[in-house]
C-alpha cells in the first residue's frame, strides 16, 4: 500500500498509524492480538536513564470517555531496555521508537546518547510533557526556554530522527512548538495527557495516590485536534497527532488538521486491535475518496 507511506524527517513509515508510549508496552504484549508488522511504528514505554519505580498505587481512575493515569514512568532504565528488552523486539518489522524522559537535562541527553547507536531504534520521542513526575517531565514542556534547553542538549548527542512530545497544559502550544523546532527537532508529537483529577466522594480522598494525573482517551480529542491544527499552522516540521483516537475517522480528522502521522493510546486498552482497524479504515477512505497518496490529505482541511 504505497499510498499510505509517510515520512517523519528521515524516518519512513509504511503507514501513518503508530501506537502511543505507555499504552502499548513494548509491543510484544499485543502480538497475540494483532500482526505488529502492520503498524507504521510503535512508541515504547517511557524510558529513563535509571530504573524508576513510578508512583504508588492507585494509579488509575476512569472518567467520562477517558481515564486518568499516574504511572509516573515506571521502567527499568535505558540500559536494561537495551540489554533485555531490545533483543526481544528488534525484529518486529516496524519502527520501534523509544520514548525518553528525565528529571534533568543531563539525564535526557545521557539517555538519548545511549540509544543513539542502537541499530533498530531509528528515532526517539522526547517526553517533555509527563504530568506524573515530581521533577522535570511536564515542567520542561511548559516553558519555551526549558523546552529549548532539553532539545538542544539532546540534539547534540542524537543524530537520528528526533521527535519531541509536547504538553497540552499550556496557554499557547505554538510557542513551545516553535522553540523546539528552532532547536532542530525533526518532528513534534502531541498531545501528551491533560492534567486532571478525580475524587472519591464517599472516602473524601483523591482516587490517585498523586492527587492529580494525566487525562487521556476520547474525552481529550477536541482539545488535541485543535492543538494539532494550531501547531500545523505554526511550524514546518511534520506533526504526529494523538489524543483520544478511537477510530479511523478520528485519525483522518487529525491528518486533515495537519498531522503527518498519528498515534493511538488509551483506546488500545479498550480494543487491542484498534490500531490495525485504523490502518484499514484509512486505506478504505483513500480508496473511496480517490486519493492517491495520503500525503495529499495532510492539513487539507477546507477552511
Amino acid at each position: 500500500m504505497d499510498k499510505l507511506k509517510v515520512n517523519i524527517g528521515s524516518l519512513a513509515l509504511k503507514n501513518p498509524v503508530m501506537t502511543a508510549s505507555g499504552t502499548f508496552g513494548y509491543g510484544k504484549e499485543f502480538a497475540d492480538f494483532i500482526d505488529l508488522s502492520r503498524l507504521g511504528g510503535i512508541c515504547v514505554k517511557g524510558t529513563t536513564l535509571h530504573n524508576r519505580q513510578g508512583n504508588p498505587y492507585p494509579r488509575m481512575a476512569e472518567t467520562a470517555a477517558g481515564m486518568l493515569n499516574a504511572v509516573g514512568l515506571q521502567n527499568k532504565g535505558v540500559d536494561y531496555f537495551i540489554s533485555d528488552i531490545y533483543p526481544e523486539i528488534k525484529d518486529i518489522d516496524t519502527n520501534i521508537i523509544v520514548n525518553v524522559s528525565g528529571s534533568t537535562v543531563e539525564d535526557y541527553a545521557e539517555c538519548a546518547a545511549r540509544l543513539a547507536d542502537i541499530e533498530k531504534i531509528p528515532a526517539i520521542e522526547l517526553n517533555i510533557s509527563c504530568p506524573n513526575v515530581k521533577e522535570g517531565g511536564m515542567a520542561f514542556g511548559t516553558s519555551t526556554s526549558s523546552a529549548a534547553q532539553v532539545v538542544r542538549a539532546v540534539r547534540k548527542v542524537y543524530h537520528k530522527t528526533l521527535i519531541v512530545k509536547l504538553s497540552p497544559n499550556v496557554t499557547d502550544i505554538t510557542e513551545i512548538a516553535k522553540a523546539v523546532e528552532a532547536e532542530g527537532a525533526d518532528s513534534l508529537s502531541l498531545i501528551n495527557t491533560l492534567l486532571g483529577m478525580a475524587i472519591d466522594v464517599e472516602k473524601r480522598k483523591p482516587i490517585l495516590s498523586t492527587i492529580t494525573g494525566g487525562l487521556s482517551g476520547p474525552c481529550v480529542k477536541p482539545v488535541a485536534l485543535r492543538m494539532v491544527w494550531q501547531t500545523y499552522n505554526a511550524v514546518k516540521i511534520p506533526i504526529i497527532g494523538m489524543g483520544g483516537i478511537s477510530s479511523w475517522q478520528d485519525a483522518v480528522e487529525f491528518i486533515l488538521a495537519g498531522a503527518t502521522a498519528i498515534q493511538i493510546g488509551t483506546y488500545n486498552f479498550v480494543d487491542p486491535t484498534i490500531s490495525v482497524k485504523v490502518v484499514d479504515g484509512i486505506a478504505d477512505y483513500l480508496e473511496r475518496h480517490n486519493i492517491s497518496d495520503i500525503k495529499n490529505l495532510v492539513g487539507k482541511l477546507q477552511v
Partner: protein, 260 residues
C-alpha cells in the same frame, strides 16, 4: 495465548439482588481457550456512557462438557449492572485468558483450605474443581454478610466440604471467616484466598503465623488487564511494583509487603 473473542450469553441467572451468574459460550461452537483457576477475563461493556474501560472478572468455572465459561458478577456500578442485564443471546466481547494462576499443591500438601468472601468466592469454585480433579480433597470456607449472600453452595459441595460464616449468623458460624473454628481445629498445609482486602489480610496473617503456605488473589483496579498500562501495580518485597494483571492476580503472601 490470549485472545479477543466474542462470546454469547447462554444463560444469566440472577442469584440474588446483587449477584448474577453469567454463562457464556462460543457462538460457533468452537472450543473455548484453555483457562486456569485464578485467571480472569476483561469484558467490554458497550451500551453504557460510563463504562469506557473493560471490566476484569474472574473465571468462576469452566464447564468443559458444555463448553461454557461461568462468571459470577456482583453489581457494584454501571458496568456490572449492565452485565447483570445481559439477555440470552447477547454477544459479549472479552479478552481472555488473562493473568497467572493458583499454583498446584505439592503431593504431600493434603489439607487445603480455599477461603472466599463476597464475590471473592468466584475463583474458588474453579480452583476447587481443578484440585478435586487432580486428586485433592479441598475444603471451602466461605463468608458472607448473611445466608442469602452465600452463593453456589451446591456447586462447591461437589468438590469438597463446605464451611460457612455469616456476619448475622443466618448460616454457618456467626462472624468472619477468620473466626471459624476450622482454622483452629485443622492444621492446613496450604490456604488459597480471595475476597475483600481486610479479609485477605486477616487470612494471610493467620497463615503466616501458622507457617502455612498461602496464595491470595488481588483485585487492583486495572485499565488494560494485560500488562501494558502499569496501573494495577502491587508493591512486592523483592521486585518492587509489579503488575497484578500479569504477575498476578495470584500472589504468594511471602512476596507481598502485607506482613512485616
Amino acid at each position: 495465548m490470549k485472545k479477543m473473542l466474542d462470546l454469547v450469553v447462554v444463560e444469566n441467572n440472577k442469584l440474588n439482588q446483587n449477584y448474577c451468574l453469567l454463562k457464556l459460550s462460543t457462538p460457533d461452537k468452537s472450543v473455548l481457550p484453555e483457562m486456569y483457576p485464578g485467571q480472569f477475563v476483561e469484558i467490554r461493556v458497550v451500551d453504557s456512557p460510563t463504562t469506557f474501560l473493560r471490566r476484569p472478572i474472574s473465571v468462576n468455572f469452566v464447564d468443559k462438557l458444555k463448553n461454557e465459561l461461568w462468571l459470577l458478577v456482583q453489581v457494584v456500578g454501571d458496568g456490572t449492572r449492565k452485565m447483570s442485564e445481559y439477555k440470552t443471546g447477547t454477544i459479549v466481547n472479552l479478552l481472555l485468558p488473562l493473568g497467572n494462576q493458583f499454583s498446584t499443591p505439592e503431593k504431600h500438601q493434603q489439607e487445603l483450605l480455599l477461603v472466599g468472601g463476597g464475590v471473592g468466592t468466584a475463583p474458588m469454585l474453579y480452583l476447587g474443581a481443578i484440585l478435586k480433579e487432580s486428586g485433592f480433597n479441598p475444603k471451602f470456607l466461605l463468608g458472607a454478610r448473611s445466608s442469602k449472600d452465600l452463593l453456589q453452595l451446591d456447586d462447591f459441595a461437589q468438590y469438597g466440604q463446605v464451611y460457612t460464616t455469616t456476619e448475622d449468623g443466618s448460616h454457618g458460624q456467626k462472624g468472619f471467616v477468620t473466626n471459624h473454628s476450622i482454622l483452629e481445629n485443622i492444621k492446613f498445609d496450604r490456604v488459597y484466598t480471595c475476597g475483600p482486602k481486610p479479609m485477605m489480610m486477616a487470612v494471610a496473617n493467620y497463615a503466616h503465623k501458622n507457617q502455612i503456605e498461602c496464595e491470595v488473589s488481588l483485585e487492583n483496579t486495572m485499565a488494560c488487564g494485560f500488562g501494558v498500562c502499569l496501573c494495577c501495580v502491587e508493591d512486592t518485597k523483592h521486585n518492587g511494583n509489579v503488575c497484578v494483571c500479569t504477575e498476578g492476580p495470584v500472589f504468594n503472601i511471602k512476596d507481598l509487603k502485607w506482613i512485616s
